[in-house]
Subunit: 195 residues, 4 copies
DNA sequence: AAATAATCGAGACGGTACGTCAGGTCTTAAA
DNA sequence: TTTAAGACCTGACGTACCGTCTCGATTATTT
C-alpha cells in the first residue's frame, strides 16, 4: 500500500483501507478475478472509487495486497533430511496458493502481473520471497550435511516447485491431496542430491 | 474451429477465418492478450464481428486456436538415456511456450481458461497432450530399461515440467537459455530414477 | 441530429432517438439544465450512453434538439401596421422561449453554446433564424408602406427583441404577461419608425 | 462576502480572500466559467478549499464577487437630451458586461443564478441596480423636460437594454462597436418618447 | 500565563458524472 | 445462410469536481 506522503493534510482512514481489503477478498471468492471491478469493491466497502485509487494503482496491486497479506514468517523446521525440509517448503507454497481467495485470484493476477513490465519484475519478490528464503536455508543445511553439492540453481528449483504447485492447483485445478507436497518434494530431493 | 454447418445457404469464406487468425496473432504480439479485442481483430481482418463469433465462442477460444495450431507430431527421439529423452520432451514444451505469440498469450489465456469451468477441464488436453504422449513413451522406455519403476505419476511429473517451463518463461519472464531443457531434465530424471 | 452515414450496417433505430428526446425533455423539466446528465437521459430512455453519443456530441446539442424541435414555419400575418407585425414576431419569440422545457433549458443552454466557439457561431441561426426571417419580412412591408427607412439594423433589433424576451423571462424570471409582446413591440416600433 | 463573525478565534487573513479573488479572475479568463473549479482557484491562490467555502457559498457567489466589484458610482451626466442620457446608461452596461473577466463569466454566471431560486431573485439588484438608478434619474429628467410621459415601464426598458447588450455581446459574441450604445439608445429614446 | 476558539494549508472522504471502450447480440442490404 | 457494416445495451474504466471532514499548526481573545 502506498503510504500517505508526509504528515500534512487529513490522514487516511485506516478503516477505509481495511473495508476495501475485506470487500476485495469477498468479491474475489464470489466472482473470481475477472469478475471483480474496482467500482464494485468500492461500492461494497462503502467508499468512493478515488479512495481505492488513492491507495492502489489498479486491480492487480489491489488484489495482490488483499490476498497475500499473511506475513508467513514461520521458520522452516530443520528435520535433518532434505526431502522432509523440501516438503515443508512445498507445503508452504501449497498453503499460500490454495487459500480460497488466493486460488480464485492467482491465475488472473499472475497474468496481469506478467503483462505489465514493472509488475512482472516483482513477481519473484512478491510471491516467492518467503519460499526462496526457506529454500536457501534448506539448501544450506543439505550442503553442510553433504547431501548436495554447492551451487544449486536456487531460482530454477524454486520456479520448478512453484510452477508445479501453481500449475497443478491453479491451472489444472486439482484439489491438493494431503501428500502432494511430499510427492513433489521426493522427486525434487532425489533430483538435486549429490550422487 | 467450429465446422460450417453443412448444406444450405452461402458457404463460409475460408479466407475470412484465415485473416482472423492472422490478425489475432499480430495483435497479440503488438498489444498482448489483455490488449486484444475481438473488435480490433475483426477490423484488422476486414471482417465483421459476427464473422468472428460465428466461428469462435470468444477470445480464449479464438486466441487458443490462433496460437496453438502447430501440429507438433514429431516423434520424440529414442536416445536410450532417460535424461536425454526428458530433455527432448521439455524442449518441446519450451518451443511451444516461448514462440512469440504463445509467450504473449499464455498467461492471460491460461487464466481465462482456468476461470471458466468448461475450459478449465480442457487445459491438459489442449496444451499438454502432445507432451503427455511423449512423456508416456519416454517413461515406458525407461521402465523397460530398468531405469525407473512402474507407476510413475505421469500427470504430476507433467504438471511439474510444464509448470517449471511456464513459470520460468511465462511468468517470471526469463529468456530460455539454451541449456534450460537439459537442466530441468537432469533434475527430473534423477528425481524419478529408481535408486 | 447527425444523419446515419451511408446505407451500410444496421440502421439506427428511430425509437431510440425519440426515447432520448422524450427523456431529455422530461428530465429537463424535473431537474433543470444543470441537473440533467447524459447518463440519466440514457437510463430513462432505456438506452446505452453510446447510443446517445452516437447521435449527439454532448449535452448542449442534445438539449438543443430536444427543446427546439417545433418547426415554427407559420407565416407572420400582415396586419398592415408595423407595431402589430412586430408584436407577432415578439410573440413568437415569447412562445419559443417560454415553453416549459425551453424555459428550463435556455439560460444554461445558451451559456454552454456561448462558451464553445463552434457552437457560439451557430446561436443566431439556431435560435433566431425563424424570428429573423419574419423580421426581415416585416421590415420590408414597413419600408414599402413608408413607415421606416431602408437599412434598418436587422440583427441589432433582433438581438434587442430576443435579449429583452430572454432577459425578462429567462433570467429575471417574470411570467410573460399577456401584453408583454405588445409592450415591447410598441417601443420598438416607435423606435425604428421614420420620424 | 460573508463578514467574519466578530470576536474570538483567529481572524481571517485578508490576503487569502484577495488571493482567491485574483486567482478566480485569472482562471476565469483562462478557462472560462465552466472551466473554473473551486479546487483550482484554491490551489492557485495557495489556499485550502475550506478557506474559499468559508467565505463564499459556491462558484456563483465567488465568481460574482470576483468579477463585479467595481463600485461604478459615477453619476450619469445630464446632457439635456434623452437619447444622449440613455446612451450613457447603455454605455455603462456595455462597460460592465464587456470587461474581459465579466464577458467570460456572464453567460454561465447568469445561468447558475437563474437556476437557483434564491439567487435568481437577486439578479436585478446585483447586476442591474446601478443601471436602474441611472435610468430612473434619466427618465425623471426626461419627464420634467416633457420628452416622455410619466409611468414609463422602467424595469421593462431596463430588461430590454440589458438584454440587448447581454445578448449582443455575451451570447452572440460581437465586439462592441464604438457606436453600439448610441445605436441602442437612439431606438430606445425614440421608442419611449411622447409622440 | 492558560484556556478557548476560529483560522490556516493540506488533503482524504463518499458521491456523481464524465466520455470511451469492450463484450456479445441484432439488423440491415448484398452476395 | 453468410458477408461487412455498424447500431444496440450493458457495464467497467480511470479522472475530475463537488462540498464536507479531519489533521497539526497558528493566531487571536478571554479568563
Amino acid at each position: 500500500m502506498t503510504s500517505s506522503p508526509a504528515g500534512r493534510g487529513r490522514p487516511r482512514d485506516e478503516r477505509s483501507g481495511a473495508a476495501i481489503m475485506k470487500a476485495a477478498g469477498e468479491l474475489l471468492m464470489e466472482n473470481g478475478y475477472a469478475g471483480l471491478s474496482i467500482g464494485a469493491v468500492a461500492a461494497r466497502a462503502g467508499v468512493g472509487k478515488d479512495t481505492v485509487y488513492r491507495r492502489w494503482s489498479g486491480k492487480p496491486e489491489l488484489v495482490y495486497e488483499a490476498v497475500f497479506t499473511a506475513a508467513d514468517t514461520a521458520d522452516v523446521p530443520d528435520t535433518g533430511v532434505l526431502e522432509e525440509d523440501l516438503a515443508a517448503v512445498v507445503q508452504s507454497l501449497i498453503d499460500e496458493f490454495s487459500a480460497p481467495p488466493a486460488a480464485a485470484a492467482l491465475p488472473g493476477l499472475l497474468a496481469d502481473f506478467a503483462a505489465t513490465p514493472e509488475l512482472r519484475a516483482t513477481i519473484r519478490s512478491r510471491f516467492l520471497r518467503p519460499a526462496r528464503e526457506r529454500l536457501v536455508v534448506v539448501f544450506d543445511w543439505a550442503e553442510q550435511r553433504g547431501e548436495t553439492g554447492a551451487d544449486l540453481p536456487v531460482d530454477l528449483v524454486l520456479d520448478t516447485l512453484a510452477g508445479a504447485v501453481f500449475f497443478h492447483l491453479g491451472i489444472v485445478g486439482e484439489r491438493p491431496g494431503p501428500d502432494l507436497a511430499q510427492r513433489i518434494a521426493r522427486v525434487a530431493a532425489k533430483g538435486i542430491e549429490a550422487r
